[in-house]
């Protein structure tokens, strides 16, 4: 760590005593020893200017401490760090630890209602903080404010009805005096939304329906009453652009997932990115990656905000690698489509029209017999946080290559609270060698590359052209972190946590942690020492350089 950063961290630590006003989150890049919001900063680049760990010394990383979560579902939170205190989760328990030693200061235990229904595990991806208050969203669709010093709850509001399939798995996003959350439940026929709550009182400030009702723009894209069960979940934290006051979020699949016959139309704003005024929740623009999708391709990726030259002119951009296998560049002020290029094998898209609407290849409808589509149901990537390094100028993502699914629709009636998919994606590979959801106990991996593999891939953000890749023999659910020393950290289902040279993908260091990495690694500093933190299996592992 350089002297300037060390000094600023000591000053901040001393004077502000863990008070995190909005201004600090806004300028989180100026205090890289902290990690103040889910994706590190509002731009969501997952790039840190900490520089103590370098390409040369990363091989000297050693384990400092472990937090073993008493929790058995996929362990996905990104911790926050504020002036030497780490805040993370254990299911829907919030935990405060000493960031240097891992000793627990307090734990707030929350017991979700047994009514909570989740397609894919009782998952929580992290907390948000504002001033001295933490915000935790729960799998039974509550939003809880917790005192960051004591772990005592301050308020608890019901955001939506858990018994109808609503739940919240993403880390909330704080903007100004509000806390933003959406709901998962795209496999339960929910009607999705993004809502903002007053951080002090828990009172709802605005709510944007991701599936518009009668009288709302976009309602005409839903035939009949299909909007009532239209899905449009939100389960990964969005980004914020203070210059335009827009908050950008990805929206999930339409419901039911695999049979579009019952929901004729484009089904806005499913499989879209939405840009909302952060004060009012009014829609400024949207871009739909997949109109009328039948492949469960939630567009819940993290919007990565980058200012760079585009065709010779400086431009405010949004970079996005989508579950549908395409890398996109949009103008984040207007939503204008600038580029769409596939980063994995795909067979559904034969191009884009002048407005960026994808042109579907022939015979790419879900059928009763089944239709083979690349990429598969889990996509070419998914919710795994990408990274952008201003130093290398490269965009990094976790990619699943050669995946496919046979999408078969069925007829199914909606029953509140029941799984509502109207179909079943099948693996084209007999007996389960396909890539599916993360598992706690992975079967032995005997797959061949031609069946599928995963990789960290580095793309030229201006063209989508691949610069390098680091291959793994199994899937990855890991996000990516880059640093000012051109070190890239990531992991995967093989159980390794590793460091690559961000310039060329060369392996610099690895350790077998014996459990899947299903979150984005993060970095922070405490008492002048840089740490990197990663979840593997059901524990949080924290590394730093060996003391000389």
């Amino acid at each position: 760590m350089n002297v300037r950063i060390l000094l600023s961290s000591l000053l901040l630590a001393g004077s502000l005593a863990a008070q995190v006003p909005f201004d600090r989150i806004l300028r989180a890049d100026r205090e890289p020893h902290n990690w103040l919001t889910y994706s590190g900063t509002y731009k969501s680049q997952r790039y840190s200017t900490l520089d103590q760990i370098t390409r040369d010394n990363v091989k000297n990383l050693e384990l400092q401490w472990v937090f073993q979560a008493q929790y058995l579902d996929p362990y996905e939170p990104t911790p926050l760090v504020v002036d030497g205190v780490m805040y993370t989760m254990q299911g829907n328990d919030a935990v405060a630890l000493d960031a240097a030693t891992g000793r627990v200061y307090w734990m707030y235990r929350y017991t979700p209602s047994p009514d909570a229904r989740l397609c894919c595990g009782r998952i929580s991806r992290g907390l948000a903080i504002l001033d001295g208050t933490l915000f935790m969203a729960t799998v039974d669709a509550h939003l809880v404010a917790v005192d960051a010093k004591t772990g005592r709850p301050l308020w608890d509001v019901k955001v939506a009805r858990a018994e109808a399939g609503y739940s919240i798995t993403h880390a909330p996003l704080v903007i100004k005096d509000k806390v933003l959350v959406g709901s998962t439940g795209g496999e339960y026929g929910i009607r999705g939304f993004l809502a903002a709550y007053d951080a002090k009182t828990g009172k709802e400030a605005w709510r944007f329906n991701t599936v518009p009702g009668p009288g709302e723009a976009g309602h005409e894209t839903w035939g009949g009453d299909s909007w009532k069960t239209g899905g449009g979940s939100i389960w990964v934290t969005g980004s914020y652009d203070p210059e335009t006051n827009l908050t950008l979020w990805g929206v999930g699949n339409p419901g039911p997932d695999w049979n579009g016959d019952v929901r004729p139309g484009d089904n806005l704003y499913t499989c879209s990115v939405i840009a909302l005024d952060a004060d009012t929740g009014k829609l400024k623009w949207h871009y739909q990656f997949n109109p009328h999708n039948e492949f469960d391709w939630d567009a819940v990726q993290v919007p990565v905000l980058v200012d760079m030259d585009w065709q010779g002119q400086p431009r405010k951009l949004m970079l996005w690698a989508n579950r549908n296998g395409f890398y996109y560049v949009l103008d984040r002020t207007t939503g204008e489509f600038l580029l769409g290029k596939n980063f994995v094998k795909q067979n559904w898209n034969v191009g884009f029209d002048e407005k960026g609407r994808p042109m579907m290849a022939p015979n790419t409808k879900s059928t009763y017999e089944g239709t083979l589509i690349f990429p598969g149901n889990q996509g070419g990537t998914n919710w795994y946080s990408p990274s952008y390094s201003p130093r290398t100028g490269l965009f990094y993502l976790s990619a699943w290559e050669n995946t496919s699914s046979i999408f078969a629709k069925r007829d199914q009636e909606y029953v509140e609270g029941q799984f509502y998919g109207s179909g079943q994606p099948r693996s084209p590979h007999p007996r389960g060698i396909g890539m599916g959801m993360p598992r706690l106990a992975q079967p032995p991996n005997t797959r061949m590359d031609e069946e599928n593999f995963s990789a960290v891939r580095a793309l030229d953000p201006r063209t989508g052209e691949r610069k390098w890749e680091f291959k793994m023999s199994n899937a990855t659910d890991s996000g990516i972190l880059t640093t000012a020393t051109d070190v890239l950290f990531s992991g995967g289902r093989e159980g390794y946590f590793y460091a690559l040279d961000a310039r060329n993908g060369e392996l610099l260091w690895k350790v077998n942690l014996g459990g899947i990495v299903a979150m984005g690694p993060m970095t922070y500093a405490a008492e002048g020492k840089q740490y990197v933190a990663v979840n593997a299996g059901n524990s949080l592992f924290v590394f730093a350089l060996r003391d000389e």
Partner: protein, 253 residues
């Protein structure tokens, strides 16, 4: 969303529709609803609750379809069976699935062939123990067949594996070869691999692990290690062998 759990079941159902009359979509939906609503108590094979065998096609308390559907939806409160949140149509689909499983079990029970004669072929003329293991006998180099009869493989699939082993190699039974620095080629059954290493059971039954970066060469064996028995066994011997394999249900009878 999680998709793998049901895939195997649906694939299995899919392979068998040629032999049964139930509408495929009903049985597939029924399999899905069974897994979500029934399997937690009744088990994946319908036989976990004492005295109840859902695959037998016989039910103790009821006989008509509408009565069975009624029990699924309303439960048997005094016997501890809770009601399930199912529509009548969904319960009917579960019933179609149960009937399908019962018909399949009856079909297997009526197959020609004698398991004792099949065992004699397996251990004698077929020399299957040279590579396979059943219980405590035989080699560990090939797939262990101790519970092959519980793995939901159809008689037709087993017969095909005997006559045409390359037709469908189970991904869990793949073989690889490696060439370490000493240049001596080693073949083994692949147990696991990752970006950096691979683990095998070699032809001498040794568990071995290799760093990929230190190997001169490694790759999958593209064809099965198992010889075809086409023309080597009579059709009666094949039939015996198939019913013997179907009788192998694991270490507990």
């Amino acid at each position: 969303m999680r998709v793998i759990t049901l895939c195997a079941l649906v694939l299995l159902a899919g392979t068998l529709f040629a032999q049964h009359g139930a509408p495929r979509a009903d049985v597939e939906n029924g399999a899905m609803f069974y897994q979500r609503n029934c399997a937690v108590c009744h088990g994946p094979n319908g036989d976990v609750v004492a005295g109840v065998d859902l695959w037998s096609g016989k039910f103790r308390r009821v006989s008509t379809d509408s009565e069975i559907v009624g029990i699924m939806r309303n439960g048997i409160p005094d016997k501890g069976m809770p009601p399930a949140n199912l529509t009548e149509r969904q319960a009917e689909q579960i019933l179609a699935y149960l009937r399908f499983e019962a018909a399949e079990a009856a079909r297997i029970a009526a197959l020609p062939g004698n398991p004792a004669d099949g065992r004699a072929v397996f251990e004698g003329k077929g020399a299957c123990l040279n590579c396979h293991r059943v219980g405590t006998r035989g080699s560990r180099t090939g797939p262990d067949l101790t519970d092959i009869g519980s793995q939901r493989r159809t008689p037709e699939e087993l017969q095909r594996s005997i006559l045409d082993p390359n037709a469908d190699i189970n991904p869990q039974n793949r073989f690889v070869y490696v060439v370490p620095a000493d240049g001596k080629r080693i073949t083994g059954r692949l147990l696991n691999h990752d970006a950096f290493s691979l683990q095998i059971l070699d032809s001498e039954e040794r568990l071995r692990s290799f760093q990929k970066s230190k190997l001169r060469e490694f790759d999958f064996e593209k064809t099965s290690m198992m010889p075809s028995y086409q023309g080597k066994l009579t059709s009666a011997e094949i039939a015996d062998l198939v019913v013997y394999l179907l009788s192998l249900k694991g270490i507990t009878p």
